[in-house]
Amino acid sequence: MIPTGWLSGDVGPVLSAAILCTMLLYMAAIGLALVRVLRGPSAQDRVLALDFVYVIGMLIILVLGIRYRSEQYFEAALLIALFGFVTSTALAKFLLRGEVIE
């Protein structure tokens, strides 16, 4: 029995299978980037990998918005993109100067 959710619903079978594949690829990408976050030899490596994780998280929200035909997800993705930029810039500024706002 196919569970309702990923492989059924209001998108076609081709598109829902493609969305499932895309989600698995994103999960693998986030896993490999988290390896770099845990193992990164310096602090800037970790900041870079966390910024990458932010971008992939935003893409996951957008793909969910395509899947569930909702425009609410778009605003969440916009906020994630903005906060990812602010976080990465603040961390990079901290690494550069030792303070964020001076």
């Binding site: 998108v11 076609g12 081709v14 598109l15 299978a17 493609a18 969305i19 594949c21 895309t22 989600m23 698995l24 690829l25 994103y26 693998a28 990408a29 986030i30 896993g31 490999l32 980037a33 390896v35 770099r36 310096s42 602090a43 800037q44 490596d45 900041v47 870079l48 990998a49 910024d51 990458f52 971008v55 992939i56 935003m58 893409l59 957008l62 793909v63 918005g65 395509i66 035909r69 425009e71 778009f74 993705a77 916009l78 993109a81 903005l82 930029f85 990465s88 810039t89 990079a92 500024k93 901290f94 690494l95 550069l96 100067r97 030792g98 303070e99």
Partner: protein, 132 residues
């Protein structure tokens, strides 16, 4: 265009974005140097997110029957913010490598201000973060 055609195009775009994200993260794991590892996020923030947002624009266009422009807000936002993040991070890495005496990439010009993007007063300032 029928709905089938649109779904095939969107499936292609989504899987291409997933493959680009996976290639970028493989680059994260495999590349040796931090300055080499600055390159993979461009693949995710450029290629992958633009594929997804084009698919989203196509989806909204087909569903509503009118041209939808709001996914391009995120494209413009990412195209503006990602180079800023990367250049500040590269400056921070150059500064930290320099202050801790590790190897930095060879300079392209002789002027340090062009290469580091910092004035001399910043480079020799007394507020230096400790290495690592």
């Amino acid at each position: 265009m029928t709905t089938e055609t649109v779904e095939w195009i969107m499936s292609f775009l989504l899987i291409a974005s997933g493959l680009m994200a996976l290639a970028a993260s493989l680059g994260f794991v495999r590349l040796k140097d931090f300055f080499q590892r600055l390159h993979p996020p461009a693949l995710a923030s450029g290629g992958a997110s633009m594929c997804v947002l084009l698919a989203m624009a196509l989806w909204a266009w087909v569903n509503d029957g009118r041209l939808i422009l709001y996914p391009f807000v995120i494209i413009v936002l990412i195209a503006i913010t990602m180079p800023v993040t990367m250049s500040i991070l590269a400056r921070a890495a150059l500064f930290r490598n320099r202050t801790s005496g590790r190897a930095v990439p060879p300079s392209l010009t002789s002027a340090t201000e062009v290469v580091t993007g910092m004035h001399d007063s910043e480079r020799t300032g007394d507020r230096k973060p400790s290495a690592d």
